[in-house]
Structures are given as C-alpha cells and as structure tokens.
C-alpha cells in the first residue's frame, strides 16, 4: 500500500514504479475493505475509476503528465460529475446522474487525476456531523462511535483512513475545516471566488467555497494549484493570475506575526483543545513567530448572522428541487401543490427543511429588514474586524472547533448545540477569507484536535507556508487511526 504524500505518489508514477491503475486499484481495494464500516463513500464505480486511471497512464507514457497525473482523488458528492450519480447526500437527488462536470471536476480531470468515487456528506452540506446524510452517517475512523464532522465528513474520513490520498470538500460555515479537525487531516477553504462554484450544488451561494482535503499542507498546496483559476461560468469567480501555492512553503517563519483572537480562547472552548492549540503557538514561536493579541469582537455574532443568511440563500437555492424536471418526485399526489408539498416533504430531511423554513421566514415580507438586512450589516462588521486585525498580524490562529469529535447521536437532537460547533469557522466564510485546519494533537480519548489558521484575502501561500513549517516540526498529521492490521497502510515513508 502506497505512501500517502501526493508528491511521493506523483514521483512514483512518474518514475513508473507504480501505474495509476495499480494505485487506483489499491485504493479501491482499501475502500472495499474499510468503507462498509466507515460509510465515507456514497458511490464507488471501480470500472470508471480504472478507465480514468488507464487514461492517466497513457498520458504518463506519452510524456504529457502534469504534477499530479495518475494520483487518484475522491470527490464530495456535491460536485456534479458527468455520468456519475450526484446526490448531495439527499433523497431528493438519490437518482440524479449529472450530465455535466463541475468546474472543479473538469480541472482534476484535466490534471489527469482519476476519481475514486463520490464521498458522503450532510444533506445539501447542512450539518456538522454527517448525520443528516440520506445515505447514513459517516463514522470517524479514529473511533467509529464518533462523528467525523461535516458536512465534508465522508471526504475527511476517507482521507483519514487513507481510502483516498486526497479529497475535495466544500466549506460554507466550516464544512472543510471542522471535519478535517475532527478526523486529524489538513483542509483548506480558499478565499471566496478563488475556486469556481460552477457545478457545485449550491447551499449558500455567497459563502460556499470548494477546497482541498489531504493529510498535509504540502498536499493541499498541490491540490489548490489544480483547483483554482478563473471560470467565466461563475460570475463570482476571480480573474487573477495563476499562483503556485507551494512557492512559499519552505520559507522560514522568522518574523511571522500570529494574531490570537481573544474571543476564540474564551468560554465554550474545551480545555484539551485549548492546551493543544497553545502548544502549537509555542511551537510556532520556536520557529521564529511572534504573537499579537487581537480582537474579533463581532465574531461572537457570527452564528446568528450565519443562521439568517445561509438559510435565506439555501431556501432559495433549494427551490429548484420541485419534482418537476429531475430527482425525486412523490409517487402519489393530487394536484400540483400537492405534488410540490409531498415531493419536498418526502425528499428533504429534517435539517434541510428546518433551514428552508428559517430562510423563507427571514426573507418574508415584513421580516426582511429585521433579519436579512440586519444580518448583512453585521456581516460587514465581522469582515471589518478582520481587516483591522490584519493590520497587525499576518495570520490569525485559533482552534478549528470548540471540541473534538462527539458521539453519533449526541447532538443530533439539539440543532443549536450542533450549530455551535462552527463557532470559530463561520467568521471566515462571512468575511470571504481563506481558512485552514491542521492537526495539532489528540485528546485523552485519542481523538484528533484541529488548529485553525485564517489568512487575509489571497494569502493562501502564506498560510500554507505556516502550516508546512509547523508540519515539518511536528508529526500530528502523520498519525493514523487504529483501523486494525487489515489496513496495511504505512503512515510514514
């Protein structure tokens, strides 16, 4: 079984030590062994994967390989993938085979990276535990009684269990970073607009952003190189010059100013998480960084603001799922209104319905100003806090989530308790800033702890530099979950 670093895999493929087909087959075998217990994948199609791998091998043989050609990757089931079932974790799309590729999928295909399958997720990316998936909860590879986080829980779990060397995720309020933290991997949410949202099924359009999930920051940098780029099909896509996100990773951290927002180390933060994050700060200081005390006062309003804006956009984005043209339609109904209400009552799960109701309410006549407009104003204040902070620091550091993974079912009965899990991740989405999570320790139960970095707009290379230097000095990201002898995966090269 292969070494998980993407650059190592790429080197082995380039030197023909292993073929893309062999590599893909090895991962498919591992998926066959582990996925029944973890449920990280909704769709696996070995035939399609191997065909794509064979095409990658042909590219390599022809000397037309790119940096990651032949390295397989798993895609969150939120990305439309031509010819693949694309469910978004919902009964509503349980039968939807996409007739086109999302821009992100196009880019990975163009890079010659075969798809290992479509990963499980909270329904329409709404959830922080992966328990809202119509296809069943994903189990945390570190302990299957615990949640992997969400909504990109399948992606995080499959990478943590090395069922895939890397995965795509999407992050609306923490959906890349929180599961990355809970599963002990590295995940990055880029600046809003850096990765095209075309073909990515919309949850909250002004917040959604796709990003890479992999064991290390170095891997994420390579994946980001593939994913980013202007797309005329997405009007919010930014037309900027291509960057190499690995370019700064080896720079020393001397002189780095790390901002520590006091609100992120206050009440509500688990002690073990706090200790691990503080230890990471110490580590960075050893590497030459200095710390600055900063305040993100308005971030305390991030959750209420988010739970006005995201449901508002979601209620509208999900209107197209009406049983008329594709997806689920109730088998029996009277008239048109009855078809709509039965289809949507049966096709959506409870959390999705809750958010549609909240969203429709805050946009309704007479409430719009009090909720939606007010939330937009506070959103601006939250972004302003960050702008102020970045005058005195280069990167903001804190915990990714207030705690480690929780037990399946523990919070699913209490939506507000669940929502609080995204307390530290949501502000970056509201401001459109890049954020990432990387492993920084374990709690007493052996569950991973995540460290969050938030950077200024377009400072991904800087964040990856900090993360890479930290990962050179530590080995948290190299640790593997105890999946038994059957795994046969080496965590280190």
């Amino acid at each position: 079984m292969p070494e998980p670093s993407l650059s190592t895999l790429a080197a082995q493929l380039a030197s023909k030590q292993i073929s893309s087909r062999e590599l893909a087959q090895a991962y498919l075998d591992r998926i066959a062994t582990l996925n029944p217990a973890i449920n990280a994948f909704i769709t696996v199609d070995a035939e399609k994967t191997l065909l794509e791998a064979a095409a990658a091998d042909a590219l390599i043989a022809a000397g037309q390989a790119g940096p990651l050609t032949g390295v397989p990757i798993a895609h969150k089931d939120i990305f439309c993938t031509d010819g693949w079932l694309t469910t978004c974790g919902s009964k509503m799309l349980h039968n939807f085979v996409a007739p086109y590729d999302a821009h992100v999928i196009q880019r990975f295909k163009a890079a010659g990276m075969p798809s290992l399958g479509k990963t499980n997720m909270d329904e329409f990316a709404m959830g922080s535990s992966n328990e809202t998936s119509y296809f069943g909860a994903v189990k945390n590879p570190w302990n299957p009684a615990y949640v992997p986080g969400g909504s990109s829980g399948g992606a995080a779990a499959c990478v943590a269990a090395r069922m895939a060397p890397a995965a795509t995720g999407t992050d609306t309020g923490g959906s890349i970073r929180q599961p990355a933290a809970l599963c002990g991997i590295t995940g990055l949410k880029p600046t809003y607009g850096l990765v095209s949202r075309f073909g990515m099924i919309a949850f909250a359009s002004s917040l959604d952003q796709a990003g890479p999930m992999a064991p290390s920051a170095e891997d994420c940098a390579l994946l980001l190189n593939v994913m980013t780029g202007f797309d005329p099909n997405d009007s919010t896509s930014l037309d900027r010059e291509k960057e190499d996100y690995t370019r700064d990773q080896d720079k020393p951290l001397a002189g780095l100013r790390v901002g520590l927002p006091r609100e992120f180390f206050a009440e509500g933060l688990n002690n073990e998480v706090a200790s691990a994050v503080e230890a990471a700060v110490t580590e960075l200081k050893k590497l030459g960084a200095t710390t600055v005390d900063i305040s993100l006062a308005n971030s305390q309003l991030a959750i209420p603001v988010y739970y006005v804006l995201a449901p508002a956009e979601a209620s509208s984005n999900l209107s197209r799922f009406d049983g008329v043209r594709y997806g689920y339609r109730a088998p029996e109904y009277g008239n048109l209104d009855d078809m709509y209400s039965k289809t949507r009552a049966q096709g959506f799960g409870a959390e999705v319905k809750r958010r549609i109701l909240i969203g429709a309410y805050v946009l309704s006549h007479g409430y719009y100003d009090a909720y939606y407009l007010q939330a937009q104003k506070i959103r601006r204040l939250i972004a302003d806090d960050f702008s102020e902070a970045f005058k005195v620091c280069d990167v903001i550091l804190g915990p990714t989530a207030p705690g480690t993974a929780f037990k399946l079912g523990e919070k699913s009965g209490d939506p507000v308790e669940m929502y609080l899990n995204d307390l530290y991740t949501i502000p970056a989405n509201l401001a459109g800033l890049p954020g990432m999570s990387l492993p920084c320790g374990f709690d007493a139960q052996g569950l991973p702890i995540g460290l969050q970095l938030v950077g200024n707009y377009f400072s991904e290379a800087k964040m990856l530099n900090v993360a890479h230097q930290y990962q050179r000095a530590t080995d948290w990201h190299m640790r593997l979950p105890p999946l038994g002898e059957a795994s046969g995966v080496r965590g280190e090269g």
């Binding site: 099909n233 009007s235 509208s316 009406d322 043209r325 429709a360």
Partner: protein
C-alpha cells in the same frame, strides 16, 4: 357622480438578443419544445447564471431614448414562487435597484399631446411555457422561452382613459422597435401589457383601489379590457360595493375581465439580492458607446421632418409611426424633392394600398425610390394626379420603372397646347348648351366642359392647362 379613470401600464418587452439573458441558448421563436433549453435554463443542480452584455445594452439604449436615469450600479434579485415552468423556483429580476429609473414618453390622443412619465424599467428573465392541451390531463412544460431577456417597463399611473393607455402602449411599441431592442411581435409575446386600473370620484386626490389586468397581447384587447374594467368598477362602486385589490385576466371571447387571484392569494416573493451575480456597473464609456449606436429618435425626427420637408406636426407624427415608415418617407421625399407631396402619397395612396393588401411598409411592393420618381413626374407635369395613380398601380404590380410604365401604357399627360386646343374646340362644338349656360353665369357648366375634355383625352390632358385654355376660349 363623475368618475375619473386612472391607468398605469407595465409592459414586458422581449429584448432582441440572439442568446438568453443568463445562458448561451438561442432565443429564436418557434423551435421544437425544450430544444433551446440548456443546463442553465432547466436549472440543473450546480449551474450558475452569466449575464448577457447585449441585454444590458438594450436596457441602456431604452434608458437613453426616454431620457431616464441609468443607475450606474444596478442589482439583480431573486423573486421566488413555485410554478412548473419556472425552473429555479425563482425568477431573476431587479427590484430595489433597477437599471432604468424615470424618463418620459409623449403621446398624442386626438389633438392633445401629453407626456407620460415612466417609473422604471428593469431587466429580468422570462419563464417557460405550460402547455395545458394535448397531454391528456397532464401539463407539458416547454422551457425554450425560459431565460429569454425581458425589459419590464413601468409607467406612472398617469393615463386617464383607455385611449391614452393605447396611445402610450403604441408610442412605447414604436420606440422599442425603433431603437431595435424588441421585435415588437405581439402575437409571439414579444410585447405584453399589464394594465393597472382604478377609478375615483372626479376631483379626489387619493387613488382608488386598483386591479391589474394581466397579459394583454394586442392594442384592441388593451382598449376593450380597460373599458370593461372601468365600467365594472364604476358599476360596482355605484351599487355600493367595494373594489378589492386583485389580479384579473381578460377573456377576449366574452369581452370580460375575470378574477385570477385576490390580494390575499398574492405571493410573497421573498426578494433578495442575487448572490451569484455581481451588481451590474455601467461606466460612462460604455454608456457613450451605446449612445453612439442609437438611431435618430422619433421626437427628433418629427421636428426635423417639419423643418426640412414642411410637413404638419400631425403628418410628422404619423410618418414616424415606425422607423421603417419614416425611412421610407424620407427616401421618397429626397428622391423627388417634394416633402409635402411625398407625405400625402405615403399616408394616402400607399398606406391605403398596404392596408388593403395587409402588408407592412417593409413589404411594400413599391419602393421608396420608385414612389419618389413617380412624384417627380407629377411635379414636372408629366403626370396628372389621376395618371399618377395608374402608374402607381403599375409599380405595385411590378411592371418596371416609372418612366417605362408611363411609356408602355401611354400615360403621359397631354400638355401640347395645339393638341389640347383641338380637343377643346371639339368639346365646345359638341356641347353648345353647356357653353350657353356658362356664359349665362353658371360656373358649374365650366367644370362639366373640362370633364368632357378630360374624358375625350382619356384622362391624359393636363387639367391645369385645360383650365387655362378653356378660360381663354370662352372669354
């Protein structure tokens, strides 16, 4: 009690772009169902809209043409409601920040000219079509029209009669086709009118409760629907009833409006700014570039026609009823150098013939150049008015050039004094009684004699010359 009618119109004009407002699909009319519906148009999961610059330019042109304010930053919103031919469950429209605000349009009703102010005009996408026939109790959905660009043009409630409403709608129709932003085809739904109608006691400042008549697709229906609605509202009020705000449909077969939905059933559209589309920014350079593509506008052309060709204000208004008509007139007028005569021919003989044949000016079998040549032959005395009509018939039939027809059909006016005198002498000799009558003071007898000369010349005699010669002879 005396009542005053108050009318405001909302007109949906389909913009004449080749592709849809947010996708690359064709907007051509009449294709097989759903063959012009892309992934974006049918709202597949994950698709995103991309704004068509051409649609924005149409809106800019309109704003410039009516002297409106162009909002330098304007914003698209989502307008939510469920209907099977609305694929996304919301329509992309503009609510709070439309591209065009204000502006005005002049209308003429009878002898009165009025200015009607516009409230706004905003860009939006059309919905698809629901086909309720031919599917055995089911409804067919055709999404070819979904995403077709529209400009919704809203007037102030300043019209006071159905005639004014029709005049406004016609003036607007002329303008949008004139500046080329809409093909104006009402049968195909390119120009659809909603009328907001209310009545109030004459002299009352406060507006009455309005009802909105939806989707009127001809000027005749607009007039009929408003007339019916006004009668109905006045009768209801005079019978002690109340008007409830409502949306109604006009049934042309019964000539009645009927309730579609009451205020209580009205949708809450839950508008909010479109997060996938950036605000549309108009800079001066873009606006000026679009302005440079605008043709001369009807108002300016009317003034110029009066000045350059000496036509009356009324004629100038008629001649600028469409750009094609105005261009035709101007070409003919320039070809003959006779503006007034050209105006008479275009509005008289030509219009009558086109009406009779149910042809548009653009389809006229007689070209403007030919008509101009014909008028030139009247002017130089070659043709009398009567002969000219015969030549016109020849031109209509496609018999060739003006002079060739005159030659071939022998329609040249007889202006040779010698020849005419011979005929006059013969007529006078043959009608001694009339000559007697004229000499005894009966002026009518003179006309009878001239008529005889014309008849004898088979209409070719130059009437003015005959008059002259006859007078000399009878003195």
């Amino acid at each position: 009690m005396k009542w005053e009618t108050v009318i405001g119109l909302e007109v949906h004009t389909q913009l004449a772009t080749k592709s849809k407002i947010f996708s690359g699909s064709s907007t051509a009319f009449g294709a097989a169902p759903n063959t012009q519906a892309s992934a974006v148009d049918i709202a597949l999961p994950g698709v995103l809209p991309v704004l068509n610059r051409g649609a924005v330019e149409c809106a800019i042109k309109f704003g410039l043409a009516i002297g409106a304010t162009l909002n330098r930053v304007n914003v698209f919103d989502r307008k939510s409601y469920f209907y099977p031919d609305l694929p996304k469950g919301y329509q992309i429209s503009q609510l709070a920040k439309p591209i065009v605000e204000g502006g005005a349009l002049n209308i003429v009703v009878g002898d009165t000219e009025r200015t009607i102010n516009l409230t706004r005009a905003h860009m939006e996408e059309d919905a698809g079509k629901s086909l309720h026939e031919d599917f055995h109790g089911m409804t067919g959905i055709d999404l070819n029209r979904a995403g077709t660009p529209l400009l919704e043009i809203v007037s102030e409630p300043e019209m006071r009669s159905s005639a004014e409403a029709v005049a406004y709608a016609r003036a607007l129709h002329t303008l949008v086709t004139w500046i080329g932003i809409c093909d104006g085809n009402m049968q195909e739904g390119s120009f659809r009118v909603d009328a907001n109608v209310s009545v109030r006691p004459a002299g009352q400042a406060e507006l009455g409760t309005r009802r909105e008549i939806k989707n009127l697709n001809s000027f005749r229906f607009l007039q009929q629907a408003i007339d019916y609605e006004v009668r109905w509202q006045i009768e209801t009020l005079e019978d002690g009833g109340r008007i409830e705000q409502a949306t109604v449909l006009f049934d042309p077969d019964r000539g009645e409006t009927r309730m579609m939905r009451s205020k209580e059933e009205a949708h809450d559209y839950r508008y909010f700014p479109y997060p996938d589309l950036l605000p549309v920014k108009l800079d001066e350079e873009w606006i000026e570039a679009v302005r440079a593509t605008l043709p001369e506008l009807p108002v300016a052309m009317q003034a110029r026609f009066q000045h350059d060709y000496g036509v009356s204000p009324y004629d100038a208004a008629v001649l600028t009823g469409s750009r094609a008509l105005a261009d035709y007139f101007e070409t003919a007028a320039q070809a003959c150098g006779q503006g007034k005569l050209a105006a008479n021919w275009v509005m008289g003989e030509l219009s009558a013939a086109l009406n009779k044949a149910e042809l548009d000016i653009a389809q006229s079998p007689v070209s403007a150049a030919h008509l101009g040549a014909l008028i030139a032959r009247i002017q130089d005395g070659t043709l009398s008015g009567k002969l000219a009509r015969q030549v016109f018939e020849g031109l209509w039939e496609g018999a060739g050039e003006v002079d060739a027809i005159i030659e071939a059909r022998g329609l040249k006016q007889m202006s040779d004094a010698g020849e005419l005198e011979k005929i006059i002498d013969a007529v006078l000799a043959a009608n001694p009684k009339s000559v007697e009558e004229f000499r005894s003071g009966k002026e009518k007898a003179f006309n009878a004699l001239v008529g005889q000369v014309m008849k004898a010349s088979r209409g070719k005699a130059n009437p003015a010359q005959v008059n002259e010669l006859m007078k000399t002879r009878l003195q």
